[in-house]
């Protein structure tokens, strides 16, 4: 009987992220990606001058990221909108999957979030080399021309370490938020279950407030991830484009 209850608990609660094998997360991130594809196709396959509901939603999201990219990165930031928007939507879909009962958020696994963070960081390095050149890329690390020459090697080391810390903090922030939400929900479910009901899981929705908070966290964390993507891109490309714009002005 307890076995059955445990199975029900497994199927209906999301707070079991620690004991779930990694392939399950892969399957759910695939589901999130397919859902995203269907949303994108449904919203854009028949575009009208007067948009319908889905097209309107897609346009709102796109315009939001367009404004954000232009205000953060500058006029050349428009080409980063697809990356930031896709990351936002994928993380949002993944996070929300964790709130639908049989599902679990793929972002509650460190594997998923490290993959996302690596995509962002590698792309940032690529854009930095493309914007500054290979010499400028290393000069940017050493803050060449901004600090005295004898401090430059020290700055180089500090900047390299902080660059390596970026994917770590980016991935752990998202992972710990989603994993933490699921663990707190699980703790609430199991806290009273054993002493009161002699069962592994409590048959009452006492984790409900945590799930409400989870909706908020899902949006905020997806937004923060794509916001940081844009800010990292802005940091590495601002110099080159700044000079370029000056050159055009003269």
């Amino acid at each position: 009987m307890n076995k059955g209850l445990e199975l029900v608990g497994l199927l209906t609660q999301t707070g079991v992220a620690a004991s779930i094998p990694p392939p399950v997360f892969s399957v759910f991130s695939l589901i999130a990606a397919v859902a995203l594809l269907i949303f994108a196709f449904a919203a854009t396959h028949n575009m009208q001058k007067r948009p319908g509901r889905l097209q309107n939603l897609a346009e709102i999201i796109y315009e939001f990221f367009d404004n954000l990219a232009v205000s953060l990165v500058g006029p050349h930031g428009r080409k980063y909108v697809p990356l930031a928007g896709t990351i936002f939507l994928f993380i949002l879909f993944s996070n929300l999957l964790g709130l639908i009962p049989p599902g679990i958020a793929p972002t509650a696994s460190l594997n998923t979030t490290i993959a996302l963070a690596l995509i962002v960081i590698v792309y940032v390095q690529y854009e930095s080399i493309r914007a500054n050149g290979i010499v400028g890329y290393f000069k940017h690390f050493a803050r060449w021309g901004e600090v005295p020459v004898f401090i430059a090697p020290l700055m180089f080391i500090i900047e390299v370490v902080s660059e390596l810390a970026k994917p770590v903090s980016l991935s752990i922030r998202l992972y710990a938020n989603m994993f933490g939400k699921e663990q707190v929900a699980m703790a609430l479910i199991t806290a009273l279950a054993v002493p009161l009901f002699k069962a592994a899981y409590i048959p009452l929705p006492i984790q409900f407030p945590v799930l409400l908070l989870g909706v908020l966290v899902a949006f905020v964390q997806a937004f923060v991830f794509s916001l940081l993507t844009l800010i990292y891109l802005a940091l590495v490309t601002e110099h080159a484009h700044h000079h370029e714009e000056h050159a055009h002005a003269h």
Partner: protein, 87 residues
């Protein structure tokens, strides 16, 4: 149980229980100051509310990630605690 093992487990239990709350106290004070500053800025210049809000969310996320680091450490420590009793 040996004295050394007992002291080790005691230290581990205290660290597991107190580490996260201490991090939360610090982050709560920091986030409170950040939000208060942002609100003041918004009240003074409502036309900049959007940009201030973006900056505030970013600052809050940075402060929060420090707590989450200690949260991850909490889970690492918790896994090392032995279970006691008939659970």
């Amino acid at each position: 149980m040996e004295l050394g093992t007992g002291l080790y487990l005691m230290g581990l239990a205290i660290a597991t229980g107190l580490g996260l709350p201490i991090a939360v106290i610090g982050a709560a004070l920091g986030q409170g100051r950040a939000a208060a500053g942002a609100m003041e800025g918004m009240a003074r210049q409502p036309e900049l509310a959007g940009r201030i809000q973006t900056g505030m969310i970013l600052a809050l996320a940075f402060i929060e990630s420090l707590v989450l680091f200690s949260f991850v450490i909490f889970f690492l420590l918790q896994g090392r605690l032995p279970t006691v009793g008939g659970q």
